[in-house]
Every structure is written in structure tokens, then in C-alpha cells.
């Protein structure tokens, strides 16, 4: 452990919110709220917010969702605003920050199958979907390694369970839980999840794989596995105004295929949690 890791913690003063455009326009929301906000440079519906944000009428009404800024990135890797009527599978969806974000990108058109294996977390997902007014969402409770959906999707978001080491700058307990065996076990699970997600993706469809972990084993190594075992081709993708870096090509004596097309969002670059995102097309 770093002896001076406290120095890396991000100030908790500024939180982030996402305007729920299913219920209100950003301009109208700005008229109503009285806490301080700043625009998130790289996402028009994202705002930095300072003050009491969880005890307002606007939050109660579902006009905005409190969402870590980094968590707003993965859905933006899918072209849902241009392809609203598509079928999307959110393979690991609870508690639904990204599900509800995608529902608003699609303006409640098309369908999102929001799945999670954990029934307790599904309850939070149900609550958030209802509060957001996300009518195009169908919630399923399956193990995404063995999907049984009778359908295939144009897009799959695989926001995989992870060791969450990208949150290390905000949540101290992550530092304490960090250990290598956990990382290896998580990586094995993530590879199985990629296989499950691959099977429910249509040919020419896009899968976005993301984690809030910074470990190469949970990220580039999973993409390397996907590229070598399935008909998946990583694609470069950029979000205007967001500072990103390429994936890590070599780690612990291993070389990872596709790493140059992966995206890493480091905590210090945009004041978000650390995130890893890769967009893969099925051929």
C-alpha cells in the first residue's frame, strides 16, 4: 500500500448529477435548483454540483440522478441517440445509473433489457427505473454468463462487476480490500461474462465492456481474451473534451491485443473515478 495514499483522495465537495431529460430539460432544471452547478465539459447532460443535492424536491421528482461522473462515460460509447429504436442489453445493470441514462438517450424508444443476478440490487434497479420514468426498460434476474433471453441485441453494455480499484481515490475501504487473488478471481468471472454477452449480441452489433477498476487483469487482459476467442474487433472511440489514455499494452510479462483501442480514464485527468472502457464490434 502507498504510505501517503490519503493525498490522492478526491475532494468530496463537488458531486455529479445527470439531468433526467425524460422528465425535464436542463435549462428548466437550472431554473429550479438552488445549489451550485458547473457544466461537465464532456457531457451535455452532466453537471458538477456542490451543496445539498439529495434532499431537494427536484431529486425526489426524478429530475436528476446522482451519478458519479465517470459512470456517465460507458453509455456514451454506444450510438443510442442515433439508433433509438434498438434492442439493448444491460447485462449487469443494478442499481441502474447507466440503464436510466441509456433510456433517456433513447427517449424511451426501443427496449433495454436491464439484467442483474443479485435480487437485492434488482430492487434498487426497479426503484431507479420507476423514478426515472424509464418505460422502455424490461428487468430480468439472470446470470449473464448463461443468458436465456430468446433474443439478441443490437448493443450490449457489459458494465462488469470488478474490484472497483478506480474508486480508490474516493472510497478508502477499497484500499483495504485490495489483494491480488481477488483480482484474478474477478478477471476469470469477467471473461465468462464477456462470453455470455457475446452470445446475446447480434452480428455487427456493438458491445461496450467497462469496469471501474484500474487493474490490467480486469481490463486489457479481458479484451485480449475476447479478441482471441470470439469474433470481436475493438474499435477506437473518443469523447470530445474527455481526457483519456490508451490501454496498457504490456503488463507482468504479458502483451495484450487490442489495448491501443481501449480507453482508460484516470482519476487525476478529469476528477472522476478511474474507468476502463472498450467498444467491440461483432463480425
Amino acid at each position: 500500500m502507498l504510505p501517503d495514499y490519503e493525498k490522492f483522495f478526491i475532494s468530496p465537495e463537488w458531486k455529479s448529477i445527470r439531468v433526467n431529460t425524460l422528465k425535464i430539460d436542463k435549462e428548466d432544471l437550472l431554473q429550479k435548483i438552488d445549489f451550485e452547478v458547473k457544466q461537465i465539459e464532456w457531457y451535455e447532460h452532466g453537471l458538477w454540483a456542490k451543496g445539498e443535492i439529495s434532499k431537494t424536491l427536484e431529486y425526489y421528482m426524478g429530475y436528476y440522478h446522482i451519478q458519479e461522473a465517470g459512470s456517465m462515460i460507458p453509455p456514451l460509447f454506444l450510438p443510442l441517440e442515433e439508433d433509438k429504436k434498438s434492442v439493448v442489453i444491460d447485462a449487469c445493470a443494478a442499481p441502474g445509473s447507466k440503464t436510466t441514462q441509456m433510456a433517456m438517450m433513447m427517449e424511451n424508444k426501443g427496449v433495454i433489457i436491464a439484467n442483474d443476478v443479485n435480487i437485492k440490487r434488482i430492487r434498487a434497479l426497479v426503484h431507479n427505473v420507476q423514478k426515472a420514468g424509464a418505460m422502455n426498460v424490461v428487468i430480468t434476474n439472470q446470470d449473464a454468463r448463461r443468458f436465456d433471453l430468446n433474443s439478441q441485441a443490437d448493443y450490449v453494455l457489459l458494465d462488469a462487476p470488478c474490484t472497483a480499484s478506480g474508486k480508490i481515490a474516493k472510497i478508502e475501504s477499497i484500499v483495504k480490500k485490495w489483494n491480488y487473488a481477488r483480482i484474478k478471481a474477478m478477471a476469470r468471472k469477467q471473461k465468462k461474462l464477456v462470453e455470455g454477452a457475446y452470445k446475446v449480441l447480434k452480428k455487427d452489433g456493438i458491445m461496450v465492456y467497462s469496469t471501474c477498476s484500474i487493474e490490467p487483469e480486469e481490463n486489457e487482459e479481458v479484451i485480449d481474451f475476447a479478441v482471441k476467442n470470439f469474433n470481436l474487433e475493438p474499435e477506437k472511440f473518443k469523447i470530445k473534451g474527455l481526457k483519456t489514455r490508451n490501454g496498457i499494452k504490456k503488463w507482468n510479462g504479458k502483451e495484450y491485443e487490442g489495448a491501443d483501442k481501449c480507453v482508460r480514464v484516470w482519476p487525476q485527468d478529469n476528477q472522476t473515478e478511474g474507468f476502463f472502457i472498450c467498444r467491440l464490434r461483432k463480425y
Binding site: M61, N108, V111, Q130, K131, V138
Partner: protein
């Protein structure tokens, strides 16, 4: 999710009539269905409710709109009220900021301005154009119907 009935156009019209009678507004609802407990649900226009109801471990389709009551009324959910509240012309109670908070926190409220409200009937509580929730107008106050889990905390 156990669906009892996917509503056809005529049945949806019936629901719209109940809403029109209670709130004085015409809606054009689509893709409604009922579950066994007389709950009404609404899904996006491209969601095939029939198909998804047979998917293994399907937990929810769309969102909860409201509950059909025997007396030709619907107890709207918060989200149902938000849909109806935008157009409602009667059985609406207007409140100020302070009362809106009281109501959102689950309390009964005593200070409000009624637009064509009937006593002992459902009313939609609004602050300007914002829907705060649903209650029942009683003698001098509005009884709060916001479920615990949906209240402002």
C-alpha cells in the same frame, strides 16, 4: 412478471375515460397492461410485453402507472401522476414550496389551492408545473398517498 391482461385499444380507451372524468384531460396512452392485483403498468411503445412476459425470470416490464379501483377510479403512482399531471385540469391541488416539501416527505397538508376538487376523491398535488404526488382530499386537508419508499428522505 405475471401479466393478467394486455389491454387492447378499447380497454385503453376505458382507462383514458376514467382519467378524463377524474382529471378533465384527454390522454393518448399506449402499451398498457394489467397484473393480477389490478395494477396498471405502462411500457414504451416498442416494448413487446407479451414476448417479455415469457422470458425467464422477467422481473419487471415498463413502469407502474396506477391501481384500478372498484369505484371507477385509478390510484395513480407518482410516475402515473407525473404523466397525467402535465395535462390535468381538475382535481388538482396547488401548493407552495414549503407544502410541496411537507407532502413529498409523506405528511398530510393543510394549505393548498384547489382546482375543481371533489371531496374524498384523488387529487394530484402540484407545485407550479411540477407534480409532487397523489393524495385524497379530506375535510380541510389532503391525505398523503405517497408510498414510504418513494418519499423524500
Amino acid at each position: 412478471m405475471q401479466i393478467k391482461k394486455i389491454l387492447n385499444r378499447d380497454e385503453i380507451k376505458e382507462i383514458e375515460k376514467i382519467i378524463e372524468k377524474n382529471y378533465g384531460c384527454k390522454l393518448n396512452l399506449k402499451n398498457l397492461f394489467l397484473t393480477g392485483d389490478e395494477k396498471i403498468w405502462i411500457a414504451g411503445e416498442n416494448v413487446s410485453t407479451e414476448f417479455f412476459s415469457s422470458v425467464r425470470n422477467c422481473y419487471r416490464i415498463g413502469i407502474y402507472f396506477g391501481k384500478l379501483k372498484r369505484n371507477y377510479k385509478i390510484k395513480l403512482s407518482m410516475e402515473g401522476a407525473t404523466i397525467v399531471g402535465k395535462k390535468a385540469k381538475r382535481n388538482v391541488a396547488i401548493v407552495d414550496d414549503k407544502e410541496a416539501r411537507e407532502f413529498a416527505e409523506g405528511n398530510c397538508i393543510h394549505k393548498f389551492e384547489c382546482i375543481d376538487c371533489e371531496k374524498n376523491n384523488f387529487v394530484i398535488v402540484k407545485r407550479n408545473d411540477d407534480t409532487i404526488g397523489v393524495g385524497i382530499l379530506r375535510e380541510g386537508y389532503i391525505e398523503n398517498l405517497i408510498p414510504k419508499a418513494r418519499r423524500m428522505r
